[in-house]
């Protein structure tokens, strides 16, 4: 078994790590403090072309395989989660269904600009009453002539308040539950489509997250993003594994950022005449963190490899997501202990990693749901 990244992947990792260190890391504090969409950094970073990461070279993308993609997701999250979430939304969730099902005209209006960073994309699933339970979706899409009329309110939408276009999950028939779900493209400027309340979050600040309101929004037929009607949940399955593993990769980015802070502090902070890294209990923390991070990364990259090889990866993706995000929460906890009182100061970074890590426990699937799902798969019906 060859567990190593290919030489190409190693090189990619080097470059993106360095790029994030130069462009994103210095801005991370400010992004968190201001909690506004970081337009300046967005413009600078998107010029580099990484938003086309997952799409074919023929349309200006990089055609990166899932393993390479995870390398990217890990590093961008290490730089700034607030920035990473917005970037990743454009790279994958906010554009995928447009890429997959959109007409050429739609692609030219939405996908290609989004790949350049000229437009901000988003994906709208969650509602106030439906997160894990997509069958409880109440946003409706009703056919009227050759238009769809969309009504509803979406909540917790990343990039929502600034999005130029949104992929909206809506049901054509409330009685069908999950089997009535479809994706629709709604563009900014369409009457009835407006951003609502912007959320003030504990962490991942800088990613503007909020409510999106659809009040009799009319879109043409071609805005149904799907080959067939009511196959939304099935289509979602195409990126579900990637979204889960990606969350795990982001968790490792946050964990690494925190871990590095812990390392520096353990080496330099002097107590009782010696750097605290000399003491057993501190050393034990690093042993535990490093072991779990290594295990997390093996799960993440092995799941990504399976995706790359088109092998079944549903359960591995869920494992990777769950384990890595739980590990991240442990790492940020330990690092704040290593930092002691200084972890409590907003002037330093560990507090930001501590706050950022929480979202991982439910973003991409709550662990309560994941465990039930995994258990069912493992035991059988």
């Amino acid at each position: 078994m060859d567990f190593a990244f290919t030489e190409e992947q190693q090189f990619f990792k080097k470059i993106i790590t360095d790029t994030v260190d130069r462009m994103v890391v210095p801005k991370a504090r400010e992004i968190d403090e201001k909690d506004e969409f970081p337009w300046e950094l967005w413009k600078e970073f998107t010029k580099l072309g990484y938003l086309g990461l997952r799409y074919p070279e023929e349309i200006g993308g990089m055609n990166a395989d899932p393993v390479t993609a995870m390398i990217f997701y890990e590093q961008i999250a290490r730089g700034s989660v607030g920035f990473a979430q917005s970037v990743i939304m454009n790279i994958l969730m906010g554009t995928y269904f447009v890429y997959r099902f959109g007409s050429q005209a739609i692609k030219e209006r939405c996908l290609f600009p989004a790949m350049k960073g000229d437009k901000v994309a988003t994906m709208c699933f969650t509602e106030d009453q439906s997160g894990s339970d997509l069958s409880a979706t109440r946003t409706t899409a009703v056919k009227d002539g050759n238009e769809w009329v969309i009504n509803g309110t979406k909540m917790w939408i990343t990039n929502g308040p600034v999005a130029d276009f949104a992929t909206v999950l809506a049901t054509t028939d409330l009685s069908l539950g999950a089997k009535g779900l479809n994706f629709f493209l709604v563009e900014k400027g369409t009457p009835g489509f407006s951003p609502g309340q912007v959320l003030d979050k504990l962490g991942c600040r800088g990613t503007v997250t909020g409510e999106l309101v659809f009040d009799n929004v009319r879109v043409p037929e071609e805005n149904l993003l799907g080959a067939e009607l009511n196959k939304g949940i099935e289509y979602l399955g195409e990126i579900l594994d990637e979204v889960r593993v990606m969350t795990g990769a982001m968790a490792m980015g946050i964990a690494q950022a925190a871990y590095d802070e812990g390392l520096e502090y353990a080496r330099k902070r002097i107590a009782f005449g010696k750097p605290i890294g000399n003491y057993q209990l501190i050393r034990a923390k690093f042993a535990d963190m490093a072991t779990e991070m290594e295990a997390s990364r093996l799960l993440i990259y092995s799941a990504a490899w399976k995706m790359k090889e088109k092998l079944p990866s549903r359960i591995e993706a869920a494992m990777a997501k769950m384990f890595a995000t739980e590990t991240c929460c442990k790492v940020v906890d330990e690092v704040t202990r290593i930092w002691g009182a200084n972890a409590f100061a907003n002037e330093y970074n560990p507090q930001r990693h501590f706050r950022d890590a929480r979202f991982l426990l439910y973003g991409g699937g709550t662990h309560e749901i994941l465990k039930d799902f995994m258990g069912r798969l493992l035991i059988g019906k």
Partner: protein, 260 residues
């Protein structure tokens, strides 16, 4: 305009460097980077090409891992790269490094050679000037501004306390100092190209040298052992409120330490 850039892969500035128990070796954390000052050299080369046309070729002397530094050069925009692969020469002193590099450069056509002013691992700052001397070329060191026109360069060299404006006909060697430019971050298209590119490797025998030239017993200078930096005693905090502490500090500096 043919521009050559001498590039070295060095341990990452944040990599842990420890002296082995034998004292004769270093244990260095295996994290590598392109030498900081070489980035300024590379960026300048790219700017010269943007302004005057031509080609940028990055050349490195190193072990097989140094390919990564050359890929980085390609990602930034260099047209070509070449690795002189030889661990002994790469780990050798400035003289041997410069000898190998200059033999390689003898086979190249160029107008300008750009190099970093020193490598942040060995901190010698010798090689580019030695290369210039081996090749019989002029050099200007510690360059913070480079302008080319009509086959000559007008450069600003920042010697301590003064800036010298120097004119030299090409071909010539220049060493890059911080402040020369702001190195660009590679575009994804550059990264993709660099990931796929095949970088030619050259052995020292191809340059008319033999491995034993770089053997320690034949080298002009060699490292005998490594020593740790001297340790400073633990800090003495001077107590008291501002004026008191200030007065005591001055007393210590004048009467005790006799430094002022």
């Amino acid at each position: 305009m043919n521009i050559l850039v001498l590039v070295k892969q060095v341990p990452d500035p944040e990599a842990l460097v420890e002296i082995a128990s034998s004292g004769k070796d270093l244990n260095i954390e295996p994290k590598f980077a392109i030498n900081l000052f070489d980035e300024f050299a590379l960026e300048e080369a790219l700017r010269v090409r943007e302004k005057h046309g031509g080609k940028v070729k990055a050349i490195s002397l190193g072990g097989s891992k140094a390919i990564e530094a050359l890929r980085t050069a390609i990602a930034m925009g260099a047209d070509e790269a070449m690795l002189i692969e030889d661990e002994a020469f790469a780990g050798g002193d400035g003289y041997n490094t410069a000898l190998a590099l200059s033999k390689a450069l003898e086979k190249e056509t160029f107008d300008i050679v750009l190099a970093g002013r020193q490598a942040i691992d060995a901190d010698r700052g010798e090689v580019p000037q030695m290369v210039a001397q081996f090749l019989g070329l002029p050099h200007v060191g510690v360059v913070v501004k480079l302008d080319i026109s009509d086959g000559k360069a007008v450069v600003e060299s920042s010697l301590e306390g003064a800036k010298e404006v120097v004119e030299v006909a090409l071909p010539a060697v220049f060493t890059a100092q911080k402040g020369l430019n702001e190195p660009r971050v590679p575009l994804i298209t550059g990264v993709m190209k660099a990931m796929k590119v095949q970088i030619p490797k050259v052995a020292v025998e191809d340059l008319g040298l033999t491995k034993d030239v770089a053997a320690p017993e034949n080298s002009k200078t060699k490292i005998v052992r490594y020593l740790p930096p001297k340790k400073r005693p633990a800090v003495q905090l001077i107590p008291g409120e501002a004026r008191e502490a200030a007065a005591e500090a001055v007393r210590i500096l004048i009467d005790v330490e006799r430094v002022i």
